[in-house]
Amino acid sequence: MSGNGSANYWQIFKNGLFGENPVFRLALSLCPAVAVTSGVKNGFLMGVAVLFVMVMVNATVSLIRNFINPKVRIPSYMFIIATWVTVTDLVMAAYQRAVYKEMGLYIMLIVAFAIVLSRAEVFASRNKLLPSIVDGAGMGVGFLLALVLIGVFREFLGKGSLWGMQILSMNGKPLKPLLIMILPTGGFFAMGLLMGFLNWIDRRFFGGTGASGGGH
Amino acid sequence: MQEASVKAHATFSGGVHPPENKDLTAHKPAVRAGLPKRAVIPISQHIGAPSKPLVVVGQEVKTGEKIADSGGFVSAPVHASVSGKVVAIGNFPHPLGMDVTSIVIESDGKDEWFPGIKETRDYNLLGPEELRKMVQEAGIVGMGGATFPTHVKLSPPKEKPIDVVILNGAECEPYLTSDHRLMLDRSSEIIEGLKIIMKILGVKKGYVGIESNKPDAVEAMKKAAAGSPEIQVWALKVKYPQGAEKMLIKVITGRTVPAGGLPMDVGVVVQNVGTAAAVYDAVRYGRPLIERYVTVTGRGVKEPKNFIARIGMPFSQLLEEAGGLTDSAAKVIAGGPMMGMSQYTLDVPVIKGTSGITVLSKSEASVKPYGPCIRCARCIDACPMKLQPSIIGVFIEKGHFEDAKDYNVLDCFECGSCTFVCPANRPIVQWVKRAKKELLKKKN
């Protein structure tokens, strides 16, 4: 992973969006990508939650990076992550009742997302505050965009709606092109097909290897 | 006898029924082929160490004279099959593929026999040792195709006592009828040969296994064996590869040769009927192995025939005697279509293991492209060794040799049944051969 402290913030940010998109490229923290994307809205809110956590964690870590002893590095990071996730969880639970009912569990599970820890470890722990925040933001936004993309794909095909607004309809009744897309099965299909498609584009037009990573 | 032939109907599981096409030559008595003008005699016509030439270019030799001596215990001497002059010693094409050092004798057409050869009327006074020596000196090797030096088979290690000898007259290969004709012409010699082999091995039980599609041969052999209760002649179900020794032993003795093991592990020695006849000739008349029955057949030859041909006879000359090739001739095979080797030149000679020359026409020989395995399991049902050729094939195709080994590819004896039945035309035997090479490479 490219994590040098070069002050070119746009580079760092973009890297999270495309070069090392957490979901499609690094293939990290895949669960939520499938789990909460049956609708655009949930995907978006999940993305925001992750974005918030990543920015805060990166910031915290880079702030105290010289202060933490390497021996207890990882545990401390995990503790920091857990802290910010708890904050997010509590806030969501209080002010986003409806959404929280559906995806509360996944919000809490952000704590297990390898992507957060790996950025803290790979980037924040070696960079100054600002770059770290930008990196967190980049990764977070990349994650968010991925979720939204999958969400659009699934909700549109599955419910014929976007962000809960019915778009397709046939003589008054809502038209649901492919119900299956909002079921677990459909989630996996969506991921697989999108990944394959992006790989294809990458190979075809950018001469990339078109390989998606794997595992955590 | 009676219950024997009844029992004979039990058979091994697996196997296939390729069209026999034996009627092309089955009814034609073997005729003596002319002498080879230039006999090309490879110094290795057997499994094991090549033999060492004893002659030099220019030297005169007589028919039956030893021209190359054993290169070790697992080896066999080679004899001149015609009288004449050694004109060359060098690499020449060999029916088994690669070029091999061969001794070329230009025939003087007189066919004068080597004086050193003498008969032994009262050979049954001789002991096992002397008999074995005679077999070895005569350069006899397995004539069923395996060409394994016979005297080696006849000297089993102490810890593997032999109690049964089986003569293999199955001739399950399509087209071939040389063993068939041999059994009709020389039944009593074959039985005598069997008795000699049994004596050498000190065995009390002998069998002759013959596929029941040769009733006349079964009759002839039964008649010849009538006087000898220790010998039984069995009619076997017609199914390829009935002649494979493991299958033969299973059917006749009910014994199962352990995977990777040899017949002697279950106290059995299997010899081809031709081998037995050769043994008799060697012991009774002191004749070395310089000629054999050869079936020249297939839609690609004008007059399919059974020949008695000298070793070293070039395919081209023998084919001429069979009227030559038809225009449709497309593939020339040393041996039968199932296990035989297709040839790229007609200069190759008849050797000790050449039971036939099969010439296929274009329509028969066209090589169809192969498709993916559809897992239909026909090959699994067909495999007499009960392997899973389908999976083995896919593994090798993708270069996973170790996995193929894990699926026992090494137990495959390349009978080709799987490849024969495969609806996707998959060249499994070819792959198996490659896998064996690769695995061997890895081993050393």
Binding site: P177 | V257, M339, S342, D406, D411, A424
Partner: protein
């Protein structure tokens, strides 16, 4: 062809063909098999047309066309050799058609065939490599996507043309929702019920209704050795046994196995779909395990599941396990003391 082998070919002065043996082949071919299986389905297909008329014709045509065209298209895109002539895509399309109810909008079987060929078969490497039964995945896909339409069955037509049949529940559906009593109300006697099921004059997916026609084809396949008894027999027997033991309202052993065997997709599934070479185990003993498991799952889903029919899911679930079976259960090699253990 082997590079090496070709090298040999060049060595050849005369035009002799050189190849590794065996030099003769059985006349069987992949295409022949696939087309024969399609042929074996002809009786069932004709019956479906007889019972469900024009709608059946259209559905069958559309499914097959979509299947074949998608296969050709994908192979073109992937720059592979186009092999639609081998008949496997045709067969898949036909089976998709036989697995959907009559009167369904044509785009649904079309989607089914597309998913079957593109996602289930070609994405996984095409003929011989797919893990799941394409036709059944196609069916499952559209079943979940259009549950209403896919579970709306029509009475067979009395007049062979026009679509005036009225919708109804299928025998299994009724059995599940209302019970045996209701079935007897409709058909009066059990004999009449069985007879209707056997000739196929009942609601259901196109190809599954006429048991007689299906068996006719099945016998042909068995005689020609295109399929063996192992999977179908163990499959059907298990379902029959379990539905007999547990299927009854009044305690054990009061179920009606015959009804369960005759209704639903069981016969079609057991003889034509569970037998798919590619997606099942190939060692015979493993095939029996496969069949028994399919039967057990079918009974389980029919009796306990949220669905009237379980054949499709049973087969699909076992498709998941086929590679595992292939791994664990191997043919017993001639002369091997005990079949060699699996590599761990």
């Amino acid at each position: 062809m082997e590079a090496a082998a070709q090298k040999e070919q060049q060595k050849s002065p005369t035009q002799l063909i050189v190849s590794i043996g065996p030099h003769v082949h059985a006349t069987e071919s992949t295409a022949a098999i696939m087309w024969s299986v399609s042929g074996a389905l002809l009786p069932a297909t004709l019956m479906s047309v007889y019972y469900f008329g024009m709608s059946a014709v259209m559905i069958i045509a559309v499914s097959i066309l979509t299947a074949v065209l998608s296969e050709a298209a994908v192979q073109k895109i992937l720059k592979k050799q186009v092999t639609v002539s081998d008949g496997s895509a045709f067969l898949t399309g036909l089976l998709v058609a036989l697995n959907v109810p009559s009167g369904i909008p044509l785009y649904i079987p079309a989607i089914g065939s597309f998913v079957a060929i593109v996602i289930t078969k070609q994405l996984f490497g095409g003929l011989g490599f797919n893990i799941f039964n394409p036709a059944l995945i196609g069916r499952a896909f559209i079943l979940i996507s259009f549950p209403k339409l896919m579970t709306t069955y029509y009475e067979p037509l009395t007049s062979a043309f026009g679509m005036d049949g009225k919708t109804t529940a299928t025998p299994l559906g009724i059995l599940k929702e209302e019970g045996m009593a209701r079935l007897l109300e409709i058909f009066h006697t059990k004999a009449a019920l069985y007879q209707h099921l056997f000739v196929g004059n009942r609601a259901g997916s196109l190809g599954e209704t006429s048991i007689a026609a299906l068996l006719l084809g099945a016998i042909f396949l068995l005689l020609k050795r295109y399929i063996t008894w192992h999977i179908p027999v163990s499959f059907i027997a298990t379902t029959a046994l379990l539905t007999w033991v547990f299927g009854g309202k009044e305690g054990l052993m009061t179920g009606d196995p015959l009804l369960h065997v005759l209704s639903g997709g069981l016969v079609l599934g057991a003889f034509y779909m569970a037998t798919d070479y590619v997606t099942g185990p190939s060692v015979r003993s493993a095939q029996i395990i496969f069949g028994v498991a399919c039967g057990a799952l079918t009974a389980l889903i029919r009796l306990k599941g949220g669905y009237p029919e379980g054949v499709m899911f049973a087969i699909l679930i076992m498709n998941c396990f086929a590679p595992l079976l292939d791994r664990r259960v191997r043919s017993k090699v001639f002369g091997k003391v005990e079949a060699k253990g699996v590599k761990k």
